[in-house]
Symmetry: C2
Subunit: 130 residues, 2 copies
Amino acid sequence: MPAERSRPAIHVCITCNRAETPVPLDARPGRRLYEAVAALAQTRALDCDVRPVECMAQCSRSCTVAFSSLDKWSYIFGDLDPDIEGTADAVLACLDIQASDEDGLIRLGRRPPQIRKGLLARIPPFRPER
Amino acid sequence: MPAERSRPAIHVCITCNRAETPVPLDARPGRRLYEAVAALAQTRALDCDVRPVECMAQCSRSCTVAFSSLDKWSYIFGDLDPDIEGTADAVLACLDIQASDEDGLIRLGRRPPQIRKGLLARIPPFRPER
């Protein structure tokens, strides 16, 4: 497997909308969060893929991000707000937390405040054997 | 990669409890759902892994199951009840639905009634390139 295919991935929903009023797709909070996270990851030259995704089926808990890494737990978080200072940084901090745990656990006590209470679900590693 | 490591996986939470009253761990609805799904998969000699898992962080939507396959979307469903007839069969039906879709989508219209409204989240494939 080429190295770039095993880099951890952050999926950011670009269609997430925090308001009930219609917002054009290119100005959605989800889109802005994606752009902020992607820009910060690029600035820091992080070894990860920040990927836009259209809907992860948690629209009522917008904005949503998911983390997946080879042989680690996958996580999905919601209730993120790109207008709260430090949110993009908090997303990237979870990447570090996941990388530092053998199973990829992102434990409550280690999460930054912007993302702490937003856990929506976690799914075990696809391949349990290492 | 050995073949057995690329088989699709069904994760069933064995600690899920549908009642507010305490239930011993070995009698939890999640445990019973896991045993029913695993037994049915074995009877049918299905090419999949049915794996017990302790908590996928959706306790308020018990019982929960997740599906993961290599290079396909991951799904997590909740509100499953092992005491409703056909529930284990419905879980295995989703495996077929996922296998028949190139991206692993489990579309609403194709889901059995026991699982139709229980979608909690979906996460894109870890590796987007095929």
